[in-house]
């Protein structure tokens, strides 16, 4: 490190004492999340038809469906297994699953706390007229 570089570092250190720090005070304010950020996958139960396409493409078996009967079931997203690859969103033809940028506050004290289960009821087909 040259002498001039050392002086530059000294100047910066002195300036930083007076300046407001760059730190984001986390619980009160947040870093702006870029729009392309892949957060946790979130199901939209109204659009889901339990067609299993997302489960077929998921590389880490993070999604699962437990059927109750022919028209309804429990759709579970296990965040502990998800690798945030967006394959399910690409595979879904009904826009039923999204990787939301805002969903990054994900931490839990047990395995069950990071699993999200939604009840899905298929909309009844309207009779064609």
């Amino acid at each position: 490190m040259s002498i001039m570089g050392y002086f530059a570092a000294m100047r910066e250190a002195f300036r930083n004492i007076v300046k407001k720090p760059d730190t984001i005070m986390f619980p009160a304010e947040h870093v702006p999340i870029p729009p392309g950020m892949r957060g946790a996958p979130v199901l939209v139960p109204e659009n889901c038809t339990l067609c299993n396409r997302c489960i077929r493409v998921c590389p880490t078996w993070a999604l699962s469906i437990e059927k109750i009967d022919k028209n309804s079931g429990y759709f579970t997203v296990d965040l502990g297994r998800c690798c945030y690859c967006q394959e399910c969103e690409k595979a879904c033809p009904f826009d039923a699953i999204h990787l939301q940028a805002e969903q990054w506050l994900t931490a839990g004290l047990s395995r069950d706390a990071i699993k999200k289960t939604d009840l899905v009821v298929k909309p009844k087909k309207e009779a064609k007229s």
Binding site: T23, F26, V31, L79, G80, R81, A107, I114
Partner: protein, 162 residues
Amino acid sequence: MSKLNEKLVIGALTRSPWVSHINAGSCNGCDIEIVAALSPRYDIERFGITLQGSPRHADVLLATGTVTRAMAPRLRQIYSQMADPKFVAAIGGCGIDGGVYQNCYNAIGGIDKVVPVSLYIPGCPPRPEAIAYGAYILLMALRNPAPAPEFEEEEIEEEIEQ
């Protein structure tokens, strides 16, 4: 008296949780995010969290990555070297369930198959705020205690022996 003592100890512990870090077979993504959480942008020293070199000094072990067969005895050794009270945080999807490495021939699985885990932070990798948020909910849970996580030791012993 003992109740006051306990309150004082928990107060001091939640104000200065020192962390130590172990990579149990991670791809280094989560380790980079831990370092990012300590950087000036997301300075978690505001909560009294400092990164310690020695696991003997630490209260919280930040374990990243799926546990490989070679790393499992070492992870257990490092956990046993920490002084009570001690907590383990599993960071990243691999640390929780194996992530993209699940069912590999050389991987045992998540961190909680080897040592008891009290905090799960999912993500691949988790954002630095997610780590800070995880630390926050762990401290909140310490102030209002809940039953300890269940842990069966016998099965894993056999699995490691194999």
